[in-house]
């Protein structure tokens, strides 16, 4: 049956199981918007800025593991998506970005709202397309979604000129997709698995680094079984949090720039390191040259380009972690490392003050995020970027994969509000908390209106310290207290909420925290909680930029602080 390009786009989305698109209309995508009412299975959420739409698609993808889709018009609409596209690239999120472009005979003529958006997104996507014929649309969507969701997931961008939406073609949905230049890895090489197993069996002080790949690959059960059979403690990267329940006896939390003292020293003193679905990032490993140069490194990743990129792996294993881990579980012997675990536990005891929740009367972010985590252990948590993000990573006890939605690689401030909306759409009826910085909140707060429209009851906790906290911390520690452009006069967030018709609560005292959390969760719609927290708290411990993990700097000792 012949149909318009616009109908083919929407029909293709339905075939892909896409039930929601975060979009913003404009001239060249009008033919597509014109056909939206004819396809009620695809819900369109009108955003207030395309960047927000992009982050919503990311939040949706991250919270659900399903394909997130954002839509924008040509020119400025398309360029506004770029931050979200690069963010999805850095964090390997299965996302599809659709843009319109000027009609084919105007391409390259610098017409109104033309941008070479495929040229712009090229280095920021897993793959992109400029579709020049209506008959190519269906195959492009099938292939694009296949690329976005398989192997190491990532953003795919499809650009469609206006007249291609209008042209008619037969709708032919491909039964299978075949790309000779794209064959995602599956099982690990048996020889490499055997080599790895021998090293693991002989290890005395092994650690596992569980990365985002475990979450993306849905391999959390396999990770737990592997850790339990070998008795090896599991550290997580920021994005790997939730790949093992934080209260599991072998879970030792996050390593890296703001990882715990014991996690960083365990990584630095291990004799065998097993990286699983992590990309050996500088924020997790510190200075590469001094990241435990004597340990034997086993590195499992579906993307072979991650092997030997930053650090040399003794045994690289290319494969899907969900398939490689069972191979490894089969190959290794049952084991335990009691002395090694005690060594780490002793460090934890001795250096607990470094990551303590302030025990005084002050209202601290650490205390607030811990209380949210304790009172709402299953809630999906979305964060912005900065101190509050690190405190959430340190003090919230994630119990399941896809629970933490955060911008790890790109570190995009303003991610939290739209991403939380996307996460809420992916998980209707569940609690979604957005832990917001007062700076980042103001970068994308126009999406509050989208929240009201879309009826997404996100609970937004603004950690309001009147500062760009992480930047202030760096200026304090590395620029001799020279505070430059970090203090911010904030609006009255309660009045702001009122303007959007959103319920809001102000918290100034520690004693009010529990009640505010309960009230927020009890309210049917979105809620803003303005937590007026202490102004100059620092995130500890800290590995200064360019330092090694073993050079982790601890918090100044203060007898009043105890580790909870």
């Amino acid at each position: 049956m012949k149909m318009s390009g616009a109908d083919i786009v929407l029909e293709s989305l339905k075939r892909l199981g896409v039930d929601v698109v975060f979009g913003y209309p404009g001239g060249v995508v009008l033919p597509l918007y014109d056909r939206l009412p004819a396809h009620p299975e695809v819900r369109h959420i009108l955003v207030r800025h395309e960047q927000g739409g992009g982050h919503m698609a990311e939040g949706y993808a991250k919270a659900s593991g399903r394909l997130g889709v954002a839509l924008a018009t040509s020119g400025p609409g398309a360029t506004n998506l770029v931050t979200a596209i690069q963010d999805a690239m850095m964090d390997s999120l299965p996302t599809l970005f659709i843009t319109g472009n000027v009609a084919r005979n105007l391409l390259g003529k610098d017409g109104f709202q033309e941008a070479d958006i495929t040229g712009i997104t090229m280095p920021a996507v897993k793959h992109n397309y400029l579709v020049m014929r209506a008959e190519d649309i269906a195959y492009t969507f099938a292939e694009g979604a296949y690329i976005a969701t398989t192997g190491r997931p990532g953003p795919v961008h499809i650009d469609i000129p206006k007249d291609v939406f209008i042209d008619e073609a037969e709708f032919v949905w491909p039964e299978k997709v075949s790309i000779r230049g794209y064959k995602p890895a599956t099982t690990g090489h048996p020889g490499q698995v055997k080599k790895a197993a021998e090293i693991i069996d002989a290890a005395e002080r092994p650690i596992i680094i569980g990365g985002h790949g475990v979450v993306l690959g849905n391999a959390h059960e396999e990770l737990r079984r592997f850790a339990e059979k070998t008795g090896i403690p599991v550290l997580n990267t920021l994005l790997g949090l939730g790949s093992i329940p934080r209260d599991h006896v072998l879970s030792y939390g996050m390593l890296g720039m703001h990882g715990s003292y014991e996690a960083n020293h365990a990584a630095s003193n291990a004799d065998v390191i097993i990286g699983i679905g992590n990309r050996m990032d500088d924020r997790a490993l510190g200075r590469f040259a001094d990241f435990n140069p004597t340990a034997k490194l086993i590195h499992i990743d579906v993307d072979p380009a991650e092997h030997n990129k930053n650090v040399t792996a003794h045994v690289p294993i290319v494969g899907d972690v969900k398939l490689v881990l069972p191979q490894l579980i089969e190959a290794v012997r049952q084991n335990s490392h009691v002395d090694w675990l005690h060594w780490i536990d002793d460090l934890r005891q001795a250096h607990g003050h470094s990551m303590a929740i302030p025990s005084g009367p002050e209202l601290s972010v650490q205390y607030i995020v811990r209380r949210i985590s304790e009172m709402s252990p299953d809630a999906t948590v979305v964060t912005g970027v900065g101190q509050h993000q690190m405190w959430a990573a340190q003090h919230m006890k994630f119990t399941r994969p896809h629970q933490l939605v955060t911008s790890g690689g790109l570190g995009t401030m303003g991610f939290e509000v739209p991403a939380a909306l996307g996460a809420q759409v992916a998980r209707p009826g569940e609690t979604v908390w957005a832990i917001c910085g007062d700076g980042g909140f103001q970068m994308t707060l126009q999406e509050l209106a989208t929240m009201v429209d879309a009826r997404t009851p996100v609970k937004m906790a603004i950690m309001n310290n009147g500062y760009l906290g992480m930047v202030r911390q760096w200026q304090e520690l590395f620029y001799q207290d020279n505070y430059v452009s970090v203090a911010m006069t904030q609006p009255d967030f309660l009045k702001l909420a009122d303007a959007y018709g959103i319920h809001a609560i102000r918290v100034t005292e520690k004693e009010q925290v529990d009640e505010a959390i309960r009230e927020a969760e009890g309210h049917a719609g979105p809620v803003i909680v303005d937590f007026q927290v202490q102004a100059e708290g620092n995130v500890w411990p800290m590995v200064p930029a360019g330092a090694a993990l073993k050079e982790t700097v601890e918090a100044p000792r203060d007898a009043s602080e105890v580790r909870s």
Binding site: G27, V28, V102, A103, R104, N105, L106, L107, G111, F112, Q113, T118, G119, M122, P123, K126, H127, Y129, L130, V131, M132, R133, D136, Y139, T140, I147, K162, D163, I166, S178, I179, R180, G181, Y182, D303, P304, A305, H307, N308, K309
Partner: protein
């Protein structure tokens, strides 16, 4: 060390841009890059000379493989290979100097492909070292213009670096033609 990397890529719009952009973004140094068609319809062959250690070239190969349009990557540096580059040199030379230039052309097994009263175009097909030597010897006469194609290479013997997976007609059409402007007049669509 210089490595000769051969990438077989889908012949579609933007693929050269993708490869060039990758080299720029990752800071890999390209000495030369030559592109052309192959025995397989829809597949282009890029011969890229990369300057860097083994670690760099391993990353180059892996990063190239991540591009969806790149079908196969081979490092011919470790192989016995025929390596050639075409050079055209326009050299200053009057009637009296012509014999001297032609002697050099003979020695380097090059060819004179154009002659005018005051200049000559010399063509040489050889590896870069021999071409470098030819150019140095021609320099005293005065080089007015010089162009080099960059290296192309092929493994000696029966072994090939060809693509083994051929695609069906419809898929081939999609992979090689999509993204190109269709032929014929397009309807005018106002915005």
């Amino acid at each position: 060390m210089k490595h000769t990397v051969v990438a077989l890529v889908e012949d579609r719009p933007g693929v050269l841009n993708r490869v060039a952009s990758l080299f720029r973004r990752r800071g890999f140094n390209i000495d030369s890059l030559a592109v052309g068609t192959t025995e397989e319809q829809g597949i282009s062959r890029m011969t890229i000379v990369v300057d860097g250690g083994d670690g760099i070239v391993e990353q180059v190969e892996k990063q190239l493989y991540k591009l969806i349009d790149v079908v196969k990557v081979s490092d011919l540096t470790k192989e016995e290979a025929v390596i050639r580059e075409l050079v055209l040199v326009k050299v200053r030379c009057n009637r009296d100097q012509r014999r001297d230039v032609l002697d050099l052309v003979d020695i380097f097994r090059a060819q004179a492909v154009d002659v005018s009263p005051n200049s000559m175009i010399i063509q040489s097909v050889a590896d870069e070292d021999r071409n470098d030597a030819l150019i140095e010897n021609l320099r005293p006469f005065g080089i007015r213009e010089l162009t080099r194609t960059g290296r192309v290479a092929m493994v000696r013997g029966a072994k090939t670096t060809a693509v083994h997976e051929t695609e069906s007609g419809e898929l081939q059409r999609f992979h090689s033609e999509s993204g190109r402007l269709p032929e014929g007049e397009l309807p005018f669509v106002s915005d």
